[in-house]
């Protein structure tokens, strides 16, 4: 059984696109050639090649049978003969089946399994051309094939036999290329058996895991762990090595945030820690070479880093010549969003909103005021123009250096946080307030002019902003009511509700029905919402709860059928003694208990204690009494029951097991 090896040789593919492309490639290959079996399917890649290795394919796909329906027996012999002739056979070779309309002829046509070479040659061009990339280009001329980067060679071999096809004017063959610099300058002939070894001898490690291990080994232990950077470097190199460099310790005067950003984001270097955890004046660069024979690579990287650090130091010095507080006016020249004016306009809105929020929390209003006024000023500094990812952080560092005080500096430093779901929220309540005000302003203003995310399109990262607001409100348990802040922008309400539901479900781990139950009553604070959900989760396993939830569902249905949307309180004198009166009294008692208990858990436990009375009521009492006054009163009782306790949660949303109302 032959092994198939396919290598699409390209120019350098962006590192972040490689793994998703391999996944797509693999899926498409499997879908097309699954009928050829195979004991293993491996996909690998380097920046210059996408590789697929399929082990032990069948030479020939299994034969298949195609059942072709013919005429009914009643159609006569002529029809049967005609059918047989059309299928290239005789009546004697036809079979017979029966269906509702009677007996009919069928022909079992044998479909010979295709030979693997032919199938691959026929199917691969479309599969290769169809590999999905988030951004693609054309290079063979207008209207030509689109791919991530130009395809320059293709290896397609079944053991040592070429599978011939053509993509983008490139004919498949058995010749590959080694490492751009270290490898053989001549094309290398390969078979599926010697492909990986041949390339390794020509300084290409095809397996990503092997490159990763090689980098990790070279890094050493004092290097700061950075998985994202490691992953990038695995796909930026074919033969990775690590080169160590040093920088002048006087640069350590610059904040470590700036030093790390330069090293990590701009130079893709790993930072090195001293034993005490602080930054050492060293770095490790990962190269696409076999070491650094003359030390030139290390020197070169040191030189570049020195220039970068010099720039940073220069920016720091120049930026200090104008304090943040003197830059507020300059924000008029920085666009927030084309239709939404400048960052000066935004700053004014943030300050107003933040003051409003601060008044409702125990934030220091003075700190919030200064921080919200200064929080965007770093956008006008040279440092942030150069290192945009440090916005906020630079503002915080400058505020501290300029004597704005630790609370203001921290609030500014943190106000972009959380930048994603894994990031922490601002450390202080002032930072939290400014962060919420900033994000809510972005959301409110964008939605107001119709910039609303659809599907996967969210160019202004509004989902992330909304998620950030929700995360802060949940985690910091701020005493802030979210809904009044967004009600005047109607489209924003369902959007925020979705984010809240997502957080309850995916971060806090509540079930769908629990989330639906607590989201039904009006939302007050998110801390309150989390507590109510928590209470349901706590009470849920107790024996009375789910049956009671089922009863609530029943009550809701009864009221719905009766068309009841509101009702006066039930009249005590119209209640029939027995289960009905008992339920009424239990409701009064539990209502008081629930109102008086401090926690949602106790409230819910009290509600759950209603179960025997509710059960007995439904057991013994017919709501639809012939006397309309009694009937109305019963409905009023049920309505009161439902509304009283639905402020905690809508229990009818709880999915109950085997307890259908």
């Amino acid at each position: 059984m032959p092994d198939f090896l396919l290598e699409i040789g390209t120019e350098e593919i962006p590192d972040w696109m490689i793994e998703p492309a391999l996944e797509d490639f693999r899926g498409k290959f499997q879908a097309a050639f699954g009928s050829f079996g195979g004991s293993a399917l491996v996909t690998e890649a380097t920046p210059r090649r996408l590789v697929l290795f399929a082990k032990d394919l069948l030479n020939q796909a299994a034969d298949a049978e195609n059942v072709i329906l013919g005429p009914y027996l009643t159609a006569g012999e002529k029809a049967a003969e005609g059918f047989a002739r059309k299928q290239g056979t005789t009546i004697a070779q036809l079979a017979m089946i029966a269906d509702a309309k009677g007996q009919r002829y069928v022909f079992h046509q044998l479909v010979k399994g295709q030979a693997v070479t032919q199938a691959l040659a026929d199917g691969l061009p479309a599969i290769v051309a169809g590999i999905h990339f988030p951004k693609s280009m054309y290079w063979t001329g207008r209207g030509g094939i689109r791919f991530i980067r130009p395809i320059r060679w293709i290896v397609a071999v079944l053991n040592d036999q070429i599978v011939p096809f053509e993509v983008a004017g490139v004919k498949s063959g058995n010749l590959t290329c080694g490492h751009r610099i270290l490898g053989s300058r001549k094309p290398l002939p390969v078979t599926s058996a010697n492909y990986f070894d041949t390339l390794e001898k020509s300084f290409v490690i095809v397996h990503a895991e092997k490159r990763k291990a090689r980098i990790q080994q070279a890094l050493g232990s004092e290097v700061q762990k950075d998985d994202a950077l490691l992953h990038t470097l695995v796909y930026l190199t074919e033969y990775p090595s690590a080169v160590r460099g040093r920088f002048d310790p006087t640069y350590l005067d610059l904040p470590k945030e700036i030093l790390s950003t330069v090293m990590r984001h701009h130079q893709r270097y790993f930072s090195v820690s001293k034993p005490d955890g602080s930054l050492a004046p060293e770095f490790v660069a990962v190269t696409n070479t076999d070491g650094d024979p003359d030390g030139l690579i290390g020197q070169g990287n040191e030189r570049v880093l020195r220039a970068r650090f010099n720039d940073a130091r220069f920016f720091w010095q120049v930026d200090q010549q104008k304090k943040l507080s003197a830059r507020v006016g300059d924000l008029a020249k920085v666009t927030f969003q084309a239709k939404l004016g400048s960052y000066k306009d935004k700053t004014e809105r943030i300050a107003k909103l933040a003051a409003q929020l601060a008044a409702q929390t125990d934030a220091d209003e003075n700190v919030v005021q200064i921080a919200s006024l200064l929080c965007k000023c770093d956008l006008t500094t040279d440092m942030v123009k150069e290192f945009t990812e440090l916005q906020g952080i630079v503002g915080g560092l400058y505020a501290k250096a300029q004597g704005e005080g630790e609370p203001v500096a921290t609030a500014i430093y943190d106000h972009y946080r959380p930048v994603n779901m894994d990031d922490g929220i601002p450390r202080t309540v002032e930072g939290q307030v400014v962060s919420i005000a900033d994000k809510l302003d972005t959301l409110r203003e964008s939605f107001r002019i119709g910039l609303i995310p659809t599907g996967t399109k969210d160019p202004f990262a509004l989902r992330r902003a909304a998620q950030g607001v929700v995360k802060i409100l949940f985690e910091a348990r701020l005493n802030l009511q979210l809904m009044p802040l967004i009600e005047d922008v109607p489209a924003l309400v369902p959007f925020m509700r979705e984010r809240i539901e997502f957080y309850l479900r995916d971060v806090l781990g509540f079930f769908y029905d629990e989330v639906a139950a607590v989201m039904a009553p009006p939302i007050t604070t998110l801390a309150d919402l989390a507590d109510r959900a928590e209470a349901i989760r706590y009470v849920r396993p107790t024996e009375d709860f789910e049956p009671l939830a089922a009863s609530f569902k029943r009550i809701k249905n009864i009221l719905k059928q009766a068309g009841i949307n509101s009702a006066p309180p039930p009249k005590a004198d119209l209640l029939v003694p027995g289960p009905e009166k008992d339920l009424y009294e239990a409701w009064l008692r539990v209502g008081t208990e629930a109102r008086e208990s401090g926690s949602f858990r106790d409230k819910l436990a009290a509600v759950a204690s209603l179960r025997p009375q509710v059960d007995l009521f439904f057991d013994k009492i017919l709501v639809n009494d012939p006397n309309p006054a009694i009937r109305e009163n019963r409905l009023a009782l049920l309505y009161s029951l439902l509304t009283e306790f639905s402020t905690i949660a809508d229990f009818s949303e709880i999915v109950t097991k085997g307890l259908n109302a």
């Binding site: 120019e11 350098e12 962006p14 590192d15 920046p47 951004k135 280009m137 054309y138 290079w139 063979t140 001329g141 207008r142 980067r149 130009p150 320059r152 751009r180 610099i181 270290l182 930026l236 190199t237 080169v243 130079q267 270097y269 660069a285 190269t287 696409n288 070479t289 650094d292 024979p293 003359d294 030139l296 690579i297 020197q299 070169g300 990287n301 030189r303 570049v304 880093l305 020195r306 220039a307 010099n310 720039d311 220069f314 008029a332 020249k333 920085v334 666009t335 927030f336 084309a338 004016g341 400048s342």
Partner: protein, 297 residues
């Protein structure tokens, strides 16, 4: 050690040997070699073309009064256009580095994703920044669109950052320490330029005058484009002079921007005004130079 000018000679020779025309810089203020008509207009249409030239490129906002060792208001690009792109273009490029004395076996070279876009030109492409021992030395782009027009033949644009490459080759930390010619430093040739233009661009340029000039050039460009629409004499119509007017607008926009004279509300609008001129010129050029192609499309 090669001087700045030696390296330029070598690169020009290298590309001349591979069939490129060696052009001289365009004689108007531009922000990049891409804006010279040798790139912007030549990449349009079905004709093959290979050209290389040094283009002094003005970026008023990048000026640093000659005080920053790596940042310049005006830097020198060596621009190469290969249309269509030969299939061994990256090998040719790497060999050009060898030709200027970089032994690639002793250095680390990486091609890192960097797609290029020029909103004022209606142009974009896919490509890389080429990193040599962690230093960006070249921008490599496969042009996809220019002046809003999808390109017939996809050209490769190779833009060498000359100051960076030569500072690397000469192992100096400041561009001003580069030896331009034997015994003559870069600072001797260009420092005054950097100092004075920084002062002018940031502090002294007359904003009202710049706006007025912008409007004059815009009007002239638009007038020519309108004439082109109505004329029957297209073959010798001055499309190239219209492009000069668009380039003037682009540079004035950059100056106004550096001067801090462009407000938020204006900014996007101004970019679109320049873009409209560039796109108009690109279309007129295609209609004039490739009338049969245009009819077919």
């Amino acid at each position: 050690m090669d001087s700045f000018q030696d390296t330029i000679f070598k690169l020009k020779h290298y590309w001349a040997d591979r069939g490129a025309i060696i052009q001289e810089p365009y004689d108007l203020e531009v922000g990049a070699g891409t804006m010279a008509p040798e790139t912007f207009l030549r990449v349009l249409g079905p004709n093959k073309y290979k050209v290389a030239y040094v283009q002094p490129s003005r970026r008023p906002a990048d000026g640093r009064y000659g005080e920053n060792p790596n940042r310049l208001y005006k830097h020198q690009q060596l621009q190469v256009i290969l249309k269509p792109t030969p299939s061994d273009v990256l090998e040719q490029y790497l060999n050009s580095l060898e030709a200027i004395g970089i032994d690639l076996r002793k250095h680390d070279i990486k091609f890192e994703e960097d797609n290029w876009e020029a909103p004022t030109l209606g142009a974009w492409g896919i490509g890389w920044q080429v990193m040599l021992d962690g230093l960006e030395i070249t921008q490599f782009t496969y042009f996809q669109q220019c002046g809003g027009v999808d390109l017939d033949l996809v050209p490769a644009e190779i833009t060498y950052g000359l100051e960076r490459i030569v500072a690397f080759l000469q192992n100096v930390d400041s561009v001003y320490d580069i030896e331009w010619a034997p015994g003559v430093k870069y600072s001797a040739v260009r420092l005054a330029d950097e100092e004075q233009f920084s002062v002018y661009n940031f502090e002294m340029a007359d904003v009202a005058m710049l706006w007025h000039e912008f409007e004059l050039h815009e009007r002239e460009c638009q007038r020519l484009l309108d004439c082109f629409r109505s004329t029957k004499e297209r073959a010798r119509f001055p499309v190239l002079p219209a492009y000069d007017q668009a380039l003037k607008c682009s540079n004035l926009f950059n100056l106004l921007d550096a001067r801090g004279a462009i407000s938020v509300t204006e900014r996007v609008g101004i970019i679109n005004r320049v873009r409209k001129l560039a796109v108009g010129v690109a279309q007129a050029w295609c209609e004039q130079q490739f009338p049969s192609e245009e009819a077919a499309a």
